[in-house]
Structure formats: structure tokens, C-alpha cells
Symmetry: C2
Subunit: 277 residues, 2 copies
């Protein structure tokens, strides 16, 4: 497979702009065509030098070999369909939404069968938003999950994987369902635990917070609309992850009065954290 | 009140050595006398330049104006009593344990009434251990909780508070009971949430963890024996904090199917995180 000449980017927020800057930094493509419906987002990304050609119109993407759709989850299907019309022959589309089952299904229902699309999720981010906060280092070394289905072709999967490597990420192939289950356990659960802990703590307790709690609390400051969409769309997997977590909290609470049992639970978590279990 | 001439430190682990280095850095006292029962800890702290005189014997502390006992929670009462015999006339003892009710009560029961002791808790730390990992910057700007009781005298409270300011920390006066309740909500709860989340996540999910989860998981790597003691001793306050957290998780789970309700919960946490609520 040849080098990707032109990457198109839809959505110039934190993730779209970070990907653009990573393409530049690592010379992962020759040209970047980018669009965002919001003129100020285009201007902010332009100020970061994030594209060769940019506008508020999908027309700008004309001739792209790979289009990356980096808009909020609910807007992905519509944006993929709009961008598909601009794709060069043999081109491929992907997206960056952190939920996949619902989105991949919606996209595949709406796209003509001849158009090639594979879901993606670069597992990176920040509690900040917008092109101003974009940073290619957010992506470096992180997993880029690629989620093919029965209708995906191998060449598209390989093209998205090669692109992920090109921007310094580590491609991981998962089904959309496995993706949603796994990210519920790590990404979505840690956000919701942060929300619960911050809400449950008294004002006075929040004032005393140490670096451990502050790291947790920072997650609760994440973009509101994005996370409302993520948690709503992935609620089934989140419920399963919450059930497992409650089971662990029950065991911990039960062990609080029995020191040997408590030590064993804490030791198991410590080993898992250090990769020794 | 005059300048503190000699500070004695019992226990040259991460916290004792960090305090010693902060005294040096900020010239908060003229001399540091330090002891640890473990010869290798004394050597490691010596290599960091943490004291003027150090040994494995309490005799080393003779003549100290303020003694800071920085040993694991359960060892505090015994260490305070041993160090009390070395205190200069008018001297004061404090400790750094992150639980207070049980410890302050035990110390006050065992110390002669003429000996002045006020419980302390510098709210700082790291998942690392030992003098090698000591760092005075861990303390800078953080709360140093001082926990007087009915038998404490104002001068001792002021001396410990002045010392806290001297090493760059922010003294906060609380009863031992309020202290335990508040730190359960922020410090102890975030540790136990990390333990539960790490234990509940599958191996494959752990491999995909992003920076948010990694920050949480790092807490689960904290020193095992220390945290077993903390969680056992503060189990009543931890149970209360866990009950509040479960209530919040119930509300979140209930709202997962109703987007407006979910957005409102997430927004409230975001406002609290940003200090706007």
C-alpha cells in the first residue's frame, strides 16, 4: 500500500487538530484538507498551522485519500455520509468517537456499500477542548483502536492501522462491542467515579484534596456535552462495569474489619497495577 | 514565640525525609536530629543530606525543641512516648499519620500530662517510598492539618502551625474526628476506588488504559502496609464516605437512560471541580 497523500479532517476540535499536528510532525501524509462547520474553529486550527486548505464546507475535502471524522459521537454518522461524497476513488473513512457499536452500525446503515469506512478510536485526550489545546504528544504511543465489522474489507483496516502508526499511535483491532465493553471499564468508569466522588465529597473535604484526589477530580471537569453523549450511548457496557465495581467495593467494605483480608485485596490491586498479576 | 532551633525527626521514610529536606531548603530550623530503627534508612537519608546528626537510637534526638514522628500509623504512640524522653524543656511533639482519632487518643492516654503533643497530618505524599524518593516540593502549598483536643494547649498548636508554615505548608486546624471524616472522603476514598477499579477491570481493559485511568491506577500502587493500617483504623469514616459514594453511583446509574438528568449530574460535578459550586 502506498503512502497516504491527502488526509481530510472533519472537525477541528482538540482531537481533529491534534491528529493534524501529528501528521505534520511525523510527515504521515503530504497534504491536510480540513473543515469544521464553525468558522472560529477553522481559524483557531489555522493559527496552529493544522492544515493546507481549510474551510467550513465539506467541498474542501475533495480528493482526500483518508478522511478522519473528529466530531462529537452523535454527529458522526451525518458527517461521515457528507464527507464520503468528497473521497478520492479507493479512499477510506474513519472516525474518532469513543463509543463504537451504535455509531458503526448507524454509519454502515447509511453509507452506500461501495464506500469504505472503518470505525476508529484514538485513546487519548485531555479535559481541555478546542484547537488551542491540541497537542500531537497526547497521541504518542497510545492505542488507536480500529473496529472492523463483517462488512469491512482488510485493505481499509490496514490503511487506518498504517495511518495510526504514521501518527505515532499503536493500532489495536477489536470488534465494536469488545471496544465498548473495554473502554467502559477503564475510560468511562473512571470518569463516572470521578463525578461520583466529587459530588459525594463535602465542600470542606474538597478544599483539603491531595494530588491523588485532584487527579481524579480533574476527570470530572471533562467536556460536558461529549461525556453526556458517551455515557448515554454506552450505558449497557457502563452498567456492567459499574456492577463489577460495586462487587469490588462490597468486598473491600466487608474486609475493612478484617485486616488480613483487606491486605490481600489491596495487595492484589497493587500487583495488577504493577503488571505483576 | 522564638525560632525553632532543633527539630527532631523519628522515621526517615518518604515523609520524614521530605520534611527534613524542606526544613533545609527553607531554613525552618537551625539543626535537624534524626533517627530511624532501620540503619539503611538512616544511611539513605544521610546520602540526601537530611540531618545534622542521625542514628538508629532515640538518644540522637536529645535536646530537640520539636519532634516530628513520621512512622507508620500503628507505630506512632510507641514512638511518641520514646521520643518524649529526649525533648528539651518546653518542647512539643507531633506526628504525620493520616489517621488521627485513634492515634491521638492512644498517644494522650500514654503520655505524661506534662508532655506537650498535638497530632498533625501533612497532606502530601506519593506512591513511592523511602528517603530516595523524598522531595520537599511534595509539601509546598499543601495543607498541614493540626488536630488539637481538649487537653492540648494553644502554644503547642501555634508551634506546630508555625513549623508547618516554615516548611512551606498551610496549617489547618481540625478536630481529630473531623479530620478523619474529611480525609476519608478525599484521600482514603480515592485510594479505595482505585483499588476497586483496578481489580474490577479485565486484563485486556488494563492494557488499553488511558491517562485518566492510569492516574487512578497509580494510587492503587501505594504502600501496602501503610494503607492497610490507614483503612483499618479509619473504617467507620470510610464506611460513611462509601455510603455517600454508592448513593451518587445509584443516581448516575439511574440517569444513564435519561439524558437530561445525566447531563445535570455531570454538570454539577464539573462546577464543583472548577470551584464554581
Amino acid at each position: 500500500m502506498g503512502r497516504i497523500e491527502t488526509v481530510g479532517i472533519v472537525g477541528l476540535g482538540l482531537m481533529g487538530t491534534s491528529i493534524a499536528l501529528a501528521i505534520r510532525q511525523r510527515r504521515a501524509a503530504d497534504r491536510i484538507f480540513a473543515m469544521d462547520r464553525d468558522h472560529s474553529a477553522v481559524e483557531a486550527a489555522k493559527a496552529r498551522g493544522a492544515f493546507d486548505k481549510g474551510s467550513t464546507s465539506y467541498d474542501t475535502l475533495k480528493g482526500a485519500d483518508l478522511v478522519v471524522v473528529a466530531v462529537p459521537p452523535r454527529a458522526v454518522p451525518e458527517a461521515v455520509v457528507s464527507a464520503a461524497a468528497m473521497l478520492s476513488p479507493g479512499g477510506v473513512l474513519t472516525d474518532v468517537a469513543s463509543i463504537k457499536t451504535e455509531i458503526v452500525r448507524a454509519v454502515e446503515q447509511r453509507l452506500p456499500r461501495m464506500i469504505r469506512y472503518v470505525g476508529g478510536h484514538p485513546m487519548a485526550g485531555s479535559e481541555r477542548q478546542g484547537a488551542q489545546a491540541a497537542d500531537p504528544d497526547l497521541l504518542a504511543g497510545r492505542p488507536f483502536i480500529v473496529t472492523p465489522t463483517a462488512v469491512s474489507d482488510d485493505e481499509s483496516v490496514e490503511m487506518v492501522s498504517a495511518f495510526a502508526r504514521g501518527i505515532g499511535m499503536r493500532p489495536v483491532i477489536l470488534t465494536p462491542e469488545d471496544h465498548d465493553d473495554l473502554v467502559a471499564q477503564v475510560s468511562h468508569l473512571s470518569y463516572l467515579l470521578a463525578v461520583a466522588a466529587v459530588t459525594a465529597a463535602s465542600d470542606q473535604a474538597l478544599e483539603l484534596q491531595g494530588p491523588g484526589f485532584a487527579g481524579l477530580a480533574r476527570l470530572a471537569a471533562s467536556p460536558l456535552e461529549l461525556w453526556t453523549q458517551i455515557c448515554s450511548a454506552n450505558r449497557d457496557a457502563i452498567r456492567r462495569a459499574l456492577a463489577r465495581l460495586r462487587g469490588q467495593l462490597d468486598q473491600i467494605e466487608d474486609a475493612l474489619g478484617r485486616e488480613d483480608a483487606l491486605r490481600e485485596i489491596l495487595a492484589q490491586a497493587q500487583r495488577r497495577t504493577k503488571g505483576g498479576d
